[in-house]
Structure formats: C-alpha cells, structure tokens
C-alpha cells in the first residue's frame, strides 16, 4: 500500500481509522433496533442521537433538522421531490444549474415529466453561477432553487450565500447539494439562508451508504420511502446504526480539523497546480484559481486531450490513482463532458480533463513523488499536433 497513491478523493475517500473504531462496537455488541423500547434499542437510539448532534454541529443546525438517508443521492431526491410534492401547488417552477451532479439533474428530469418546469442556469468559464442569472430566472411560481455548493468535477465553489439570499428574498426555498463541500468549507445554516442541504459520509472519510439531509425547521417535505415512520416519518427504514455512528464521527473530526486540513490541502493543491502548469506548459487549470475545493485540481492538456486515458492508465500502472473525464466509451465518459461543455469547452477538451483530488491521508511526500512521475509519463504522450503546443 505504501507505494500506491490515491488522488481520487472526490470519487470516494478511505475510511478514517478513528471512524472505523467508533463504528466497531455497532457491528458486534451493540445490535439493537433503535425503535425498540428495551435496553438494546436504547443503546442504539443513544448512538443515533449522538450522531445526529454531531452532524448538526458541523453546520450549526439543530439535531431535529437532520434526516438520515442512505446516500447523498437519496438526500438530493428527497429534497427536490419532497419539497415539490409537499407544496401541493399546481404550477411549480424549479431552478438549478447545468453542472449539477446527476443526482440532481436526473431528479429534475423526473420532475419535468411530472409537469414541473425547470430552468437550468448556465455557468461561466470557471463553472460559476452568476447570481444575476438566478435573479432573472425567478418566476412567481418558482418554489425551489437547487445549486451545488462545490462542483465534483472542476471543484469550483459556488457563491451559495448570495444565491440563497436572492432565493429567500423571492420567497422560494434554497437547497444545496453539499456532498463535495461539507466538512471542507465552512457552512453555517444560521448565517447562510440554506433551507435544505445534502451530504454524504463517504466523501469525507466516512462509510459508504450513509447520508443526511438538513431540512430547516418549518420547511415541509413529503417522504419518498414509506414504512415504519423513522426519521420523523420522512425516511422510513430501520436505521443503519453503525453507518450513522460513522457519519457522526466523520462530522466531528471534520469540524475539529477543518481549518488545519483545508490550509494544508490548499498548499498541496497550489503546489500541484503551479508545478504542473510550469513543467508541463501545455497544461492549464480548469475552474476558478481560488474559489475551489481545498484539495481539488482539474487540469486540461492542450493538444493532448485525447491522450488523457493513456496518462490515466500509465499513472495507474505507477500506482497513482487519479480520475479523468476522457474515455472512448460513453459508459465511462459521460459525466464530465456536460459540465465542461457547460463551461464552454469544446467536445474534445470537455473529455480530456484530469482530476487530481487530495484528501486527509495524502502527504507532501506523495505530492512530491507524483510531480516526479507525472512529467516522465507525460513525455510519452502523443500530441495531436507535431508542433509544440503552448496554452494561450
């Protein structure tokens, strides 16, 4: 394991050993159903209550405002469908951006089929939504605005405070898919007028299969999953106690370490950006230079976009895991293209990005090694032009 480097933390993250340790008792000795009234149930209930408090503390919410789910995707579905169905209005208009995660875009497509009108806001070349565009898109029937806090492919941080404020002034609700952002940037629902917020544990060194939706007190939503009435009737199903304990521990660690961790990752990120764009002059940064997730680097390869696959594979052979949007197969390559295309990239460049995302367990030594290996591998790439290609 020591010679392998994992730089794909936006895809998922390794479990923090502290989280593993916190979860262990709930795989063995503590097994009760939290809905049971006896001692076994009470033990499990106490663990869930603690996890709910830990998650709420991460963005200054009240524990009663946290609904546990099985994923960020489920949280997004519950937020959008739950709000629209909960309104019971005949005419509903929803606004989102063109670069949301499929968990949002596929849900809005579903809602469109149900008769909801949806506006997809464009983004600029850095992937940012312009608040003025949101202002112009609002209609009397606009019920909900959903803009992601941070983009998963390019790492750009949206001005969600301003977007949420504009939404609130209009009288609509604001949801943010914060799966990539929670625990990495400060979020505070007391100072930011966010009504709903989706998160997932596994993006933050927690377990897979656990997520949550923050629903501001007073906001009415309808459940997607019906049954025994868990999670205040909004998400029935016996709770994944061990997973939720893991989520809670994940949130607590992130809250305690966010500032130190963010500054450390920003320094490593900036070292990567500055070194790579210097030693490989045909590379260029995609997304905003500073308004981006702390450990997130998205690079283009001017004139060599089609070789992104080869670079990815060669790095993989060297034990380095990164991600690319390039793939001569729609099975692998569909996701990034619509985001980069929305940012104005042509079809080839929209496929040729490299995503390097750092996490808690990445070290400066790993970055140094990557920066030695990358130029050696990049030297082997075949340019689409025989002339030296320099980014404009």
């Amino acid at each position: 394991m020591s010679d392998r480097i994992y730089f794909d933390n936006s895809a998922t993250t390794p479990l923090d050993p502290r989280v593993t340790k916190a979860m262990e008792p709930y795989f063995a000795g503590i097994f009760g159903n939290p809905s049971s009234l006896h001692w076994a149930g009470r033990e499990a209930r106490a663990a869930i209550d603690q996890a709910r408090q830990q998650v709420a503390d991460l963005f200054n919410a009240h524990p009663k405002e946290i609904i546990f789910t099985a994923s960020g995707t489920e949280s997004d579905n519950l937020a959008l469908i739950g709000v629209i169905e909960g309104l019971g209005q005949r005419e509903n208009h929803l606004i989102t951006s063109a670069i949301e995660h499929p968990a949002i875009l596929e849900t809005t497509r579903y809602l469109e089929r149900q008769g909801v009108e949806v506006t997809y806001l464009d983004v600029d070349g850095d992937g940012l939504v312009d608040p003025n565009d949101l202002q112009k898109a609002l209609r009397p029937t606009t019920r909900l605005v959903s803009i992601m806090a941070a983009n998963n492919v390019v790492g750009t941080l949206q001005p969600i405070t301003e977007l949420a404020r504009i939404t609130h002034e209009h009288g609509a609700l604001f949801h943010t898919d914060a799966v990539q952002a929670v625990g990495k940037i400060p979020l505070n629902v007391k100072t930011q007028p966010i009504d709903l917020l989706s998160l997932s544990a596994h993006k933050l060194h927690g377990p897979k299969g656990v997520g949550a939706l923050y629903v501001r007190s007073g906001v009415s939503i309808k459940p997607l999953v019906h049954g025994g009435g868990q999670e205040r009737g909004l998400r029935s199903a016996t709770e994944n106690v061990a997973g939720l304990v893991g989520l809670g521990q994940t949130a607590e660690i992130a809250r305690a370490e966010m500032s130190d961790e963010a500054s450390r990752l920003v320094q490593l990120r900036d070292q990567l950006i500055e070194t790579i764009t210097t030693i490989l002059p045909n590379t260029y940064l995609i997304g905003h230079r500073y308004r981006r997730l702390p450990g997130h680097v998205c690079l283009g390869l001017a004139g060599q976009e089609g070789e992104a696959i080869k670079l990815l594979l060669a790095l993989d052979e060297a034990g380095i895991a990164i991600s690319t949007g390039s793939a001569c197969s729609a099975h692998q390559g569909s996701e990034p293209s619509y985001i980069l295309r929305a940012m104005g990239f042509d079809l080839i460049r929209a496929r040729g990005s490299l995503r390097i995302t750092l996490g808690r367990f990445n070290t400066a030594a790993e970055v140094d090694r990557f920066l030695i290996v990358l130029p050696q591998i990049a030297a082997d790439l075949r340019p689409i032009t025989s002339r030296h290609f320099v980014a404009a």
Binding site: D124, S259, Y290
Partner: protein, 246 residues
Amino acid sequence: MLTPTKPITVDDLPGLNCGLCGLRTCHEMADRLATQPEFIERCIHLSNNHISIATPQIATGPTIMAAPHVVETCGGCTVNERVTVQSKLAPSWCDTLGREFDFYLEHFPEEPGPREIMLPHNPLLTREMNIQPGDILIGRPLGMSCGCPITHCGIAMEVDPRTGVIVWCVTGPLHPRQKGFKDLGYYIAEGYEGLITQTRVEVKIGMRYFFQPRMCMLQWRHSGLVNFMNHTPGGLQVRLEGLWIG
C-alpha cells in the same frame, strides 16, 4: 468587497479561519496581507472573485454549449430487432456538429464493444509485442484511418501475425485499468464491423455512407464504404472500409 487601498487588519477579515486561502487563520492572513496585499485575492469570502467573466483559456475549434441535461449514455442499446428505416424512435440524424448521417452503427450485442479492424503503424509490432487474442490494447487511430484525436482502449479478438492486422473491440478504459495493457502507439483503423438497426436510407453494398458509430465518444459522423452485408435477426450486419471522420 475589499480593495487593498488601505491596510487590511484582522478585524476586516471574516474570522471564519476556514483555511481556504492556504493559511490556517485569519490572523495569519492579516499578517501576510501586511506585506502582500494582493493575497486578499485568495479569500473567497471577501475578494472580488465571486464571478469571473473568464472563458476557457483554450477555446479553439467548435464550441458546443451544454444541453441542460446529463448526456445520454449511448452504449448498450438494444439491437434485437430488424433494421427499420426511419423508425419513429429515430433521432435527428445529425451528429454533434450538426452534420447529417444515414445510419447508426451498433456493435454486436455479444461483444464487449465496437469491432474494429486495425493495423499498427508499424505492423511488425503485432509480432514484436506478441499480441494475442484477449490482450488489452491502447492506441490512437491516426491519419487516413480516421484521424480521431482520442486514444482508444480495447480487447484483441483476432490477430494475424503475418500481416499484423488485429481485430479488436473498443471498450473504454475500464479493462486496461483492471488488467494492464499493451500500447500500440498509432494505428490505422482499416474497417468497422457491426449492425445497422436504424437507418434513414436503404443500405447497398458498394456504396459510401455517412454513419454514426453509436459508441463514438465525440459523436462525430464517420464515412465508409459498405463492402459486406448480411441480413441477421439482430439487424443488418455490415463491414465498412475506407473510413474517414466527417
């Protein structure tokens, strides 16, 4: 929004100690600003970098703005039907550059990807690299073979060591990631074989057509000459040679 026209003190900073500027605290930021006022650009909460008017640094070539939806996955389409001309489900018959084409070329459903007949630019590589059926290969089709700018990945299906010709199925990068690969460098795409299940014209042997390989990641039309046809329950089996993109 701050402009560094007067010294910025820690009281002017948001006090979030978020670390997103690369420093741990706003106090450290204030110290840095005393000598580097331009460092304020790194504070995402205060700087004027909320919205840029930036466009991609490289924007040559055709730019196609986003459709507001996730791009449709185009692989794995059902082909268990006879070829239909101008089906009700037929698309616009235009590629992503707005150019018309005549039919979609689907891959054989029992195979892992589109079947391509290719020749390494140095055909001796087939022997030197001991290419065998089942090997995972990568390479980029160059020149008269198509001129595709994208490196392809796939699985060798048939190998002719005498001529160097390889028949492979293009699969995307998953197999190479899992199993390792042999890099052919440049190759010439000599032909495609596949099924036609949707066409807007009658396909005849000996004729050249514009067609859209269903799995082409750029969704650019190709052209080629049909030199083999066979009606099958799954559709019209064809072989196309003399390939060009466009």
